[in-house]
Symmetry: C2
Subunit: 300 residues, 2 copies
């Protein structure tokens, strides 16, 4: 523990990746009154300049070694494809007792990478996933209220040190989020259903419609419901490919269940089977209304 | 043509059904400065009271005969299941030269009903569909700007009188919408893709997730993307069953195409086939971004 009053008890925080999530963490850390040094790592010199222009961090580097050399706390917010290399660099250059957390959308794949690359630092690694985001990306996409009232799932294991877990819980609370702990496998099942599957469905729908001969008219006559329904298809395509592949097992499980149920409703429509259609639509409306009511409650 | 200045050249306008669409037509007609008599028809006395309390119409009835007895223009905004009976009542009680239009989401089924029930009035019947809506329903759901900047599709046939078409075009322009004419079959293909299919997918998704053992957590950990993606699953379930059934052929065609493409992306995820996933996700993102840009342009 530091004697000076430093939020999160850290003097040096490093954020690897300053896109929507990493950039929002940086903005949120400043909003919370952090007075230590905030250091970023980004991919190229143009992003270094942009990060400093935006005031996202106190210092910014393209090499991870420079970014993490003095870090007490390291937040990794890079796409899944970059994670292995980033963890290897952290293992090589960060102080031995630096606390490390990530923000990835699938957790079993992250745990496997951590076991491979952070073998002797597993006690200080806390896998994490903030349930927050928008369809935007890049250094300009973040904002300091992204995590307000949102949930963050942490998936510590029996290896995780209590002090490391406390530090990461403290970070997210300062950023305005509430923290829930669960098993990595359970996390992956839940997120496959609520996030990864909807992205697969939305991308596939927009691609299907774009291939139809009426393409121009289809998009011209789409109303507000379509805009909402397909908004997530504007998300970073490469990132979402990586997420879906990283969480392949749970995604395929829930996708198969969905395909089966879609075949059932297809038959019901073909057979004019009102009872089955009413069952599906009615149960869905009830569940969605209940969910909407919960959201409004928790927002108030 | 009336000599007095009456918006839409009508002195007596009747609106059958005062839910989201009919109620918004009523509110929009007043906003446009209509000085004739606006008469509504609703299902029961409670709705009559509510309609008058809200000031939706000048007079309101539960029987269609009373509502349409003097009408120059009749707007039918009832669920598909009620349409046949409403058209039969109009045929029996409206003035011979009353212009009739509807707001239904599928047009070939409406044309078939009109041929059955309005046989000797087909010249005065203009099938219509405003591409506008929200997930809400009921007499309180409408608002007088619902059609501002929206598109309305009319599907006149060779039977349609030019004067009737002009009148209905005038109505929608006064309500703030732009009007496009197309073939009923073409309308049904386009709407199956942009509206009916997304509703089927959203209802099926929410019902699928609600049936999973992790149901509570799934909804608890759903983020903003999920809320947007599933909003249309809060739409009136019975209404959407009727729409999907009424437009069965086009809905099944586009649903089958979608199921085929979903099976393809499923295989690509299972096989770690990045090229196929990147193709689908990338094309979808490009199309959705383009669509989003168009929407922002047309809104400005």
């Amino acid at each position: 523990m530091s004697e000076k009053k430093h939020i999160f008890n850290a003097k040096h925080v490093a954020i690897i990746g300053l896109g929507l999530i990493g950039g929002s963490v940086a903005r949120g850390i400043y909003r919370a009154g952090f007075r230590g040094e905030l250091v970023g790592a980004v991919e190229n010199e143009a992003d270094v300049k942009r990060a400093l222009t935006l005031g996202l961090v106190d210092a910014c580097h393209t090499d991870i070694a420079s970014a993490v050399g003095q870090a007490d706390l390291i937040v990794v917010a890079v796409p899944p494809a970059a994670l292995a290399e980033v963890l290897a660099q952290i293992a090589a250059h960060a102080p031995r007792d630096a606390i490390i957390t990530d923000t990835g959308s699938s957790k079993q794949s992250v745990v496997a990478l951590a076991q491979a690359h952070l073998a002797d630092r597993l006690a200080y690694f806390v896998p994490g996933h903030p349930i927050a985001g928008t369809e935007n990306q890049g250094l300009d996409a973040g904002f300091n209220t992204l995590f307000d009232g949102r949930r963050v799932i942490l998936t510590p294991s029996q290896d995780t040190a209590a002090s490391a877990l406390d530090c990461v819980v403290g970070l997210w609370k300062e950023l305005g989020a509430s923290v829930i702990e669960m098993d990595a496998a359970h996390h992956d099942d839940v997120l496959a259903a609520t996030s990864h599957l909807p992205h697969v469905l939305a991308y596939t729908l927009v691609d299907t419609l774009a291939a139809l001969s009426e393409r121009q008219e289809i998009f011209a006559f789409a109303a507000g419901g379509f805009a909402d329904f397909t908004r997530i298809a504007s998300s970073d395509a490469r990132l979402w490919r990586d997420i879906v592949v990283a969480n392949r097992g749970p995604v395929l499980d829930v996708l198969d269940t969905y395909i089966e149920r879609l075949a059932r409703i297809r038959s019901a429509i073909a057979d004019d089977d009102h009872d089955t259609i009413d069952g599906v639509f009615g149960r869905a409306k009830a569940a969605r209304d209940e969910y909407g009511a919960d959201r409004r409650e928790s927002a108030s």
